[in-house]
Symmetry: D2
Subunit: 361 residues, 4 copies
Amino acid sequence: MNTFGQLFRVTTFGESHGPAIGCVIDGCPPGIAIAAEDFAHDLARRATGKTRHTSARREADEVEILSGVYEGKTTGTPIALLIRNTDARSKDYDKIVEQFRPGHADYTYWQKYGIRDPRGGGRSSARETTMRVAAAVIAKKWLVEKYGVSVRGHLAQIGGIIPKSFDWNAVEANPFFWPDAAQIDELESYMDALRKSGDSVGALVTVVADGVPPGWGEPIYGKLDGEIAAAMMSINAVKGVEIGDGFASVAQKGSEHRDEAARDGFLSNHAGGILGGISSGQPVVVSVAFKPTSSLRLPARSLDVHGNEVEVVTTGRHDPCVGIRATPICEAMLALVLMDQALRHRAQCGDVGDVSPRIPG
Amino acid sequence: MNTFGQLFRVTTFGESHGPAIGCVIDGCPPGIAIAAEDFAHDLARRATGKTRHTSARREADEVEILSGVYEGKTTGTPIALLIRNTDARSKDYDKIVEQFRPGHADYTYWQKYGIRDPRGGGRSSARETTMRVAAAVIAKKWLVEKYGVSVRGHLAQIGGIIPKSFDWNAVEANPFFWPDAAQIDELESYMDALRKSGDSVGALVTVVADGVPPGWGEPIYGKLDGEIAAAMMSINAVKGVEIGDGFASVAQKGSEHRDEAARDGFLSNHAGGILGGISSGQPVVVSVAFKPTSSLRLPARSLDVHGNEVEVVTTGRHDPCVGIRATPICEAMLALVLMDQALRHRAQCGDVGDVSPRIPG
Amino acid sequence: MNTFGQLFRVTTFGESHGPAIGCVIDGCPPGIAIAAEDFAHDLARRATGKTRHTSARREADEVEILSGVYEGKTTGTPIALLIRNTDARSKDYDKIVEQFRPGHADYTYWQKYGIRDPRGGGRSSARETTMRVAAAVIAKKWLVEKYGVSVRGHLAQIGGIIPKSFDWNAVEANPFFWPDAAQIDELESYMDALRKSGDSVGALVTVVADGVPPGWGEPIYGKLDGEIAAAMMSINAVKGVEIGDGFASVAQKGSEHRDEAARDGFLSNHAGGILGGISSGQPVVVSVAFKPTSSLRLPARSLDVHGNEVEVVTTGRHDPCVGIRATPICEAMLALVLMDQALRHRAQCGDVGDVSPRIPG
Amino acid sequence: MNTFGQLFRVTTFGESHGPAIGCVIDGCPPGIAIAAEDFAHDLARRATGKTRHTSARREADEVEILSGVYEGKTTGTPIALLIRNTDARSKDYDKIVEQFRPGHADYTYWQKYGIRDPRGGGRSSARETTMRVAAAVIAKKWLVEKYGVSVRGHLAQIGGIIPKSFDWNAVEANPFFWPDAAQIDELESYMDALRKSGDSVGALVTVVADGVPPGWGEPIYGKLDGEIAAAMMSINAVKGVEIGDGFASVAQKGSEHRDEAARDGFLSNHAGGILGGISSGQPVVVSVAFKPTSSLRLPARSLDVHGNEVEVVTTGRHDPCVGIRATPICEAMLALVLMDQALRHRAQCGDVGDVSPRIPG
């Protein structure tokens, strides 16, 4: 199942070290202005090879629009985007062609399909997420232009480090998408030490959508939060998803959690902008847990395809903390979910109406 | 979207206080022995009205099989199950017909559809989950008979209380699905005090599937964990889902998290049985965060449908901790996901094969 | 696959001689006024037992609305409709429980599922189409109220008899949905003779949708004509579907077939209102070929479930020409397709716009 | 909706005069041997520019495999195929950029999307069908290797000309896929005269699948014949589809139509291999009606995008009979439907079993 979305459908293809990766976007509204250059900004935010804190692989990530756009505008027909892979170094993987790397999908792909492309992790590589970010560029554009909906994200934890202050303006000004400018030095040192140790660490990403109108989401099995959860969990290395207060709700009292409202608006947002699977008009807040990268220089025990016990050491180029670059990917998935739900909402209920009373978000 | 699943498709219908609830199960393999009595056990585990710690509503929950079963066996045609509502007390809701209860879906349904059935929460009531449990009875039966897969669950936290020891045998022997028999008195007292206070509390449920063969799950957008996340998040009051170590992974090192393997089997299960979206053969472990019930006797501020500020007090019959009865519902959703993925796997790859080497789970 | 439609989704269930038949309609727009009585008219048009020219089975076909309607209006949640079977006479089928009736689905269901419900044809009975007609009542209502789209149909051929004149007013005034009032006596005699002979005959049904706005239909694999073809072919006994001139196009020249247009409108409608899979604004015209009923009193050669050769004679109650009652069923399917496409169109392109120039239909 | 199939899902993209056309095949079983050369044969059968009886456009139709194949075998991940357009002559279309060509999709795309790519018909061009033929190469390979199912087709009528004898061996030996070698001269003359006249003509294509096991097809709304009808109707210029005797069934008696069976096999195949939407084990026989090409040198009345009446003359390069090259396209669609149904069947019912008794096809 390589298609995401019910009505704004993104089908991705491509392996880490194959000739190309790409996607087909089907169901896109006509008339959206889009050009190849529009993809550059978000793809660069996701790209490796720009700081020493991410993998050294450098891909140009140049997007070719193969269809669906005429004279600079979407036509309603499928939009195919293509990116050639240019910096794959498959020989890095020679050693592990026959080994199942612990914590990786090597063994499970092998068990499922009886065959796998081991070069760079093949289809299970995070290289695939490039196309999600590309597709979401179109979704983000439509969401903001048509409904004033914007999506942004930040890192909320690396290992044991948590932001001490919060400033959206800081987020894009450092390589960690970190909201506290005063902690950047600490993070640099932490990551340098981690890289030297050959180990890796997990991370927490938070994404927020502002301006979402009330009413998006399809009960019961197409709930907004349900689809967000699936979307985030589909990202490589994700082990948990929560909406609003999430797991903290477990220890809360009802009198504390439920968000009261007055004519001026809601008095809190423990729910993270979603009630009964439908957006409330408050900001949609999602947090995503990333496990530490499994590709380590530190040796580990495993088996090979012949059933022999082996000691696996992963060289190649890897992120010591995959969560860092995951921020734009989480944004992308949230944007794709919202775009899809927007179309589904107007299919059943017509465009966003003026149902009253409207509680300010 | 009231259908769950791609190939084992469960479509539910019905409102809390409507004449009936029901479901249609499509895509079910033929030849499964099933009778009306088979549903009783799991429905009773989910039912209210059996202890003072859940809602006082008492429903007979008698299942009528309307189609798809002939001479005691499924025929491959759609199976319709029907349960008449018998203990709805809609007049409890008279006061709130025009009020938006904080933390409930009242406002969001109103904004989405411009109309809502306020009786007992209408479609957004957890009454709907009865049919998930019913449908999962068939899935559980098939999974265990055909593949030896079993699904079970337990409560892992209520408010701030955490089990001090763990025993699967204890779980079904108390009304809390609690794994530590020694804490039952404490929980009873806690819940009694909570109920008297008019407040509610959150809970954590953990469900585990044993015997899942390696290879189930469809990368990239139909991953086993992605579909589990969506499934759990579709349950009323859920605010978070995690697989294996989940959010704890954020603070872990890669050397700690990645599960090594030897010929005798995996050496740990931080991954919760899923790698790259595909089952590894280890137990699938899922934890689900439930928020505290929003229906409280304690007054709260909100608006009514005319835009006036109101003070909402919820009488009616409610669970002080919805998470308690959620254990069989979480099991049901996990079973439905696994059944669906089993069918999807054999569609693409044929039946579960004997790909070697197989690492013991 | 017992669900029809992508966004206006109708899932039917039930066997010919089971306790009930029913359907769940999901994705229905909220706010449509609907009551149990609304179904009576179209169900009566489809019903057997009203003239000697159809099967003698008499079903009350009383619709119970189980969900999705509150205070007389659809709420956007799934609408479940239930009809109890009251006049099933399963003992008529005793003889053929173990026989494969020629021209029936007995053998193919057996081969597919390894089990079948033989009573009255089980799931393969045309009894199932009752629910299509019921579901389409809601679709027809919405289509005419919101867009002014109306759907109607008539019989266009029985055996070798073809209408000599055409009058829509005649169609509902005779039991054959026949457009030429002067031929009714001829048809009565023909059908009486046929019934006495124990044989059956095929028929041709034509359905027309007026007022369809230009723009409905989703290229390439969700074309309006593609979905109509699937919809019609899903009806029992259908062997062919054509749009507009259909098979007659084979012998036509391009200069004859292509519909020219002037400012006042199109100059012809060979295309049957669809070009490139999208409605043109002209009437949508569909013809459907029904094979003769396979249930005959005349003996035929076949096998039984043990592999023995047998002589099959079908008693029971059957239509000598299934095509007659098929007219409202074909209308229903056309309405369901149009409703679904209307929702899909407004999802991607917004509501029906005022793209100019608009050529009168 | 540019995706065909439920489990073997083919998503196509690309415009007639865009940089490329392509497709993504998702859900393909792993382990199928496939190479770029495998596509050449069928693509050549579909290609234009090879005889004077088809359009003069000459495309190399070289397939690049972008993903999903590793060391010559499918891996179970999405297979992306790309063909660059090399012989598009968009200036041929300058005149009609603002005109709605009669019988074409120009007007309906304009009305649906408010924008259209007029170059060569854009997305509505039959150029798209190239990718169906490419995708079906994989399906055909799997069907024949795994189940012994083969698909082939022939032209059954051009204008008023009908084959006088039938020989499968003749079909591939002439440019018309015509089964009667003795008529080729007549057809050549007919087509030459037609081309000179500037007019076009319709055609009838028949495709047959041999070796289909009994049991494929999903009642009620995923019937084998329903999906075939949709598949064929999705091909450019198709106006009608019939299974087995099709429209001829209208004038038949039941005693004539129903296919009797003996231990040695079925005694006839009026049903065209499908009963109740499920394959019977007999050959699946489908006929498809193609309208005459609408692109003519003969002038026709229409409007332009400003609402002015215009006289349209189509130059460019066109087929005087689109039905001729449609034979491999119809084969492709039948193969895609069968492959998809094969996967769906084994999902629900397991692999093709040995249900007895089996009636020889």
